[in-house]
């Protein structure tokens, strides 16, 4: 099916609810991440304030919102985690938790799929390959 974009059609970020939606999602998402035994060890000992700010930046990007991430930032930011064993299974877990967060907030499945696709586009940079 072909969708015709008009200049006034809302962006993904707007459809999701913009910054307010990110704010609503960030604690739910971060709580899931910290409670998930598959990935929680990567967050041991990190500063919570700084980490919450990073989660917000990540969600803003995944929601199609304004961000200044580059592929290089993604690589550098995760290099030390890849050295500790970060791999596809962990990346999959994060994408899964992101989807579960949005579902919990009542976001429609087609929008969740778009968010997942944006997150997916960072996989190779995050895993440094």
């Amino acid at each position: 099916m072909e969708t015709v974009l008009t200049p006034h059609e809302a962006t993904l970020y707007e459809q999701l609810g913009g910054e307010a939606a990110v704010d609503a999602a960030v604690d739910i998402f971060y709580r899931k991440v910290l409670s998930d035994s598959r990935i929680s060890s990567f967050f041991d000992g990190v500063d919570m304030d700084r980490q919450a700010a990073k989660q917000k930046a990540f969600l803003t990007m995944a929601f199609g919102g304004p961000h200044s991430y580059t592929g290089l930032d993604m690589r550098r930011g995760h290099q030390h985690l890849v050295a500790r064993g970060l791999n596809d299974s962990h990346f999959d877990a994060v994408v899964e938790l992101l989807g579960a967060t949005l579902a919990e907030l009542g976001v429609a499945p087609d929008l969740i799929a778009k968010v997942a696709a944006i997150a997916e586009s960072t996989r190779n940079d995050v895993l440094n390959r």
Binding site: V26, D27, Y30, R31, L34, G45, D47, M48, D49, A52
Partner: protein, 322 residues
């Protein structure tokens, strides 16, 4: 390489080196403490150059506009003249009372000799005449006539040993700009509040609790005080009295093991005692103060129990790097 000029001398700054590290490398005597941009002991004033914005984070507007900055957080981009903040930014204060609260904690009361505004729960850098500096949290309320600090005696600790052994009523000290964002702001007066700390983490909490109650907080206010042994708990009488005065204030003491000496304290670690009573903390506001390891682990547990990340105010007591 940029040069910094300090006290008439020029020093070349190495790549990525901070102003503080450069001065220390050159054996310049300068007050500092945490090296993390928190304690503000290394406050200096810049001129004839640009002060990076990052070096002014956490400073009051009035200090920023006068080009004050933190030497530990400043990697200069170009030449800069640096002067010590000196006593013009410090308030003299006299020790009025010294009182032992338990084996290791001394209550130091001071009277500021000039107006000294702060929020209950903030911390100050305390300077001795010779420039020795340490940070302490304020346990007093801004409208009280005396400032109150709780000083734990640290073996070999220059300031704490001196305060415990040598300092006397009438000794003059200097206070520098209160800092920290762990304090009460009136907003949702019905919101449940949780305050938790071990050791002298109680000092800021003692101020925040009384501030919240006096400002008319109507929601439940729970204070959890933890210690390794019963003798580590202090101010228990004052807090029990506070509990009798304010029906919405609740005070819980905890020690890890129930020994013979446990008395009215609950058995268990601080986080166990909290989460046993309140498995869900959604909608609460929290204040956590004291040992950094405890603060970081507890705030994570409070968050996982449902407290919002922005609703948790934490003050991890950094120890001196010297």
């Amino acid at each position: 390489m940029p040069n910094i000029r300090y006290d008439g001398q020029d020093y070349a700054v190495q790549p990525r080196e901070t102003v503080l590290d450069c001065l220390l490398r050159n054996n310049v005597a300068i007050s500092y403490l945490c090296k993390a941009g928190s304690c503000q002991s290394c406050l200096v004033k810049g001129s004839d150059g640009t002060v990076p914005e990052f070096a002014q984070r956490g400073l009051k507007d009035t200090l920023r506009t006068q080009s004050y900055f933190l030497a530990c957080s400043c990697v200069p981009k170009g030449d800069l003249t640096v002067a010590p903040a000196g006593n013009d930014q410090r308030t003299p204060a006299l020790i009025t009372r010294l009182e032992s609260l338990n084996d290791t904690v001394l209550r130091v009361r001071l009277r500021a000799e000039a107006p000294f505004g702060y929020f209950a729960g903030q911390y100050v850098s305390l300077f001795r005449d010779d420039g020795l500096a340490r940070s302490y949290s304020l346990a007093s309320l801004p409208d009280e006539s005396e400032l109150e600090l709780h000083v734990r005696r640290i073996p070999g600790g220059a300031m704490s040993e001196w305060l415990h052994r040598t300092a006397q009523t009438g000794t003059r000290l200097w206070l520098q700009c209160p800092a920290g964002n762990c304090f009460y702001l009136p907003g949702d007066v019905g919101q449940p509040l949780l305050l938790a700390g071990t050791g002298t983490g109680l000092a800021p909490l003692y101020g925040i609790v009384r501030d919240a109650l006096r400002q008319g907080h109507t929601g439940p206010v729970w204070l959890f005080q933890g210690a390794l042994t019963r003798s580590g708990l202090y101010l228990t009488g004052e807090l029990a009295e506070l509990e009798r005065t304010w029906p919405n204030f609740h005070y819980v003491r905890s020690v890890p093991q129930h020994g013979d000496q446990a008395g009215e304290a609950e058995a268990g670690t601080l986080d166990d005692c909290i989460l046993r009573r309140f498995p869900s903390l959604a909608g609460w506001k929290g204040y956590v103060c004291g040992d950094p390891q405890l603060v970081n682990s507890l705030r994570k547990k409070l968050f996982l129990a449902g407290m919002g990340s922005k609703a948790i105010y934490a003050d991890a007591f950094l120890s001196s790097v010297r």
